[in-house]
Symmetry: C2
């Protein structure tokens, strides 16, 4: 597909995701955090366009890690709110490359190419990813392999052990839903793209409400990795149960707004789920979603 | 300046402008019109990126009319809300070309180049502009020259009389503030860029509030051309006087919100002023505004 078509779809996904409200716990058009505002997300979405475009041109020819690093650098350069889109960029770069290489927006074709891109990553991709973590100041769990992302020593270790980006993310896949998508063939991203398109088409929801409901559906389906990492397992389980109640109750707006107020007050932001929905929206737009 | 730097600045300007709230009478992040929503403006802002980029690459080499037409076509293709950005695209394309050609964001250099681009327009630019009016379904006054934009006959007349885009806009400059900028050297756009940067810097306003206050300042300074055309001179004078009261009272938020409710209820949207502020924001961003 054409690179500007792909880059615009990816960028529109970021903008619609952050604009959708009320999105319990996260920044949306009606909620700023203290240091990170809605405008920071808008500027970051603008900033990454040339990197998405380059990724769509690069297609299957490698360089995933470097493109992720450049995307994160541009995002941080264009606004002063800190890390806004790390997870979304990480998840979307291989998908954007796949869309650039694909003849159509067919799910099987996109998934096959994106999975191939991830499996072909190498040591340099892993190192660039580590540098991107550091640029975005993302906290990452010291995992089984004791690879500390803030540490030059672990870059040495990646080289010594010849770990690829796919290897690194296979380790974090045990506790991080975004890593799980990246090494597992992007099943949830495509499932939620289909759900969003189903919501907007058959149930005649406004795009905004379709995004919010898909986000709640995901919160209800799996614990948010960011919440679990930052606030612990008890909180992430609670968020999941609370979301499940709202989904089972038919997505009532009053319940949803109360849940939003509660998470905002507690400062709990399910950021990984928002990143997943941004990626799903990208696929949904490629496959026909129109505002 | 680099084409992606310029295109991103132009796109961010469109997005910050439509997001700023409360912007009395216009679509913002908290207000949709019945057929045109905030999301339509977002999608349109995304849609025009490749055209802004092309304009920045094309620099002073002509084709203003065609680029405006392509910008409007892309804007209409990516969303179903109708005309969102006609005036902003019209005003910004020559400025984007000038920025692509300029060595710096210096006001004198940008104005000189943009003015040169407008004065070098030809018959083909005028015809493309007429086609763009028709694509966007913009209503235009039958002016002195009896050039009806919805009519193939007037395109014949443009050819017969060898009218350039500059000539056409010189006619409409008598009643349209955007035409006035385009043929008059963009004085107000640059003045409002300076005002916005002054508001964000010295008075420590949030970017959102700086945009809203600049918009009110402009409403208070000159009658909105769109309001005058659609609702008549009495209404456009009233809007101006009302805005003046708020500016002289120190931009009080409660007065501003009341004015917003009043215009929304009456369906009066000062669209030309919003287009002018979008162009001013583009210059302000080039000259250092950062979120």
């Amino acid at each position: 597909m054409n690179e500007d078509q792909v880059a615009r779809s990816a960028q529109l996904a970021l903008l619609l995701e952050v604009s959708a409200y009320p999105k319990p716990g996260n920044v949306d058009r009606t909620h700023d955090f203290v240091d990170t505002t809605y405008e920071h997300f808008i500027a970051s979405s603008v900033a990454v366009y040339p990197v998405f475009r380059e990724a769509a041109v690069r297609k299957e020819r490698g360089g995933v890690g470097e493109l992720i690093l450049r995307g994160v650098e541009e995002s941080m350069k264009w606004q002063r709110g800190g890390n806004t889109h790390f997870g979304a960029i990480l998840l979307m770069i291989p998908l954007v490359m796949a869309a650039g290489a694909a003849d159509s927006s067919d799910t099987d074709e996109l998934r096959r190419i994106a999975d191939g891109i991830m499996r072909n990553t190498g040591v340099e991709d892993a190192i660039a990813l580590y540098r991107a973590f550091s640029v975005a100041k993302v906290r990452v769990r010291r995992d089984v392999a004791e690879l500390d992302v803030m540490n030059e020593a672990s870059i040495e270790e990646i080289r010594d052990r010849q770990l690829s980006m796919f290897d690194i993310l296979s380790i974090s896949a045990s506790y991080d839903q975004i890593s799980r998508e990246l090494v597992g063939g992007f099943g949830k991203v495509f499932a939620y793209a289909a759900l969003i398109n189903e919501f907007t088409a058959s149930r005649e929801r406004r795009v905004n409400d379709a995004i919010v409901d898909a986000y709640l559906h995901l919160l209800a389906e799996e614990e948010d990795s960011f919440v679990r990492m930052e606030f612990g397992a008890e909180q992430s389980r609670y968020v999941k149960e609370r979301a499940r109640g709202i989904v089972e109750g038919g997505y009532r707006r009053d319940e949803l707004e109360e849940f939003d107020r509660e998470l905002i007050a507690a400062g709990i932001n399910p950021g990984s789920s928002a990143d997943m929905i941004a990626a799903a929206l990208f696929i949904a737009i490629l496959q026909g979603l129109k505002v």
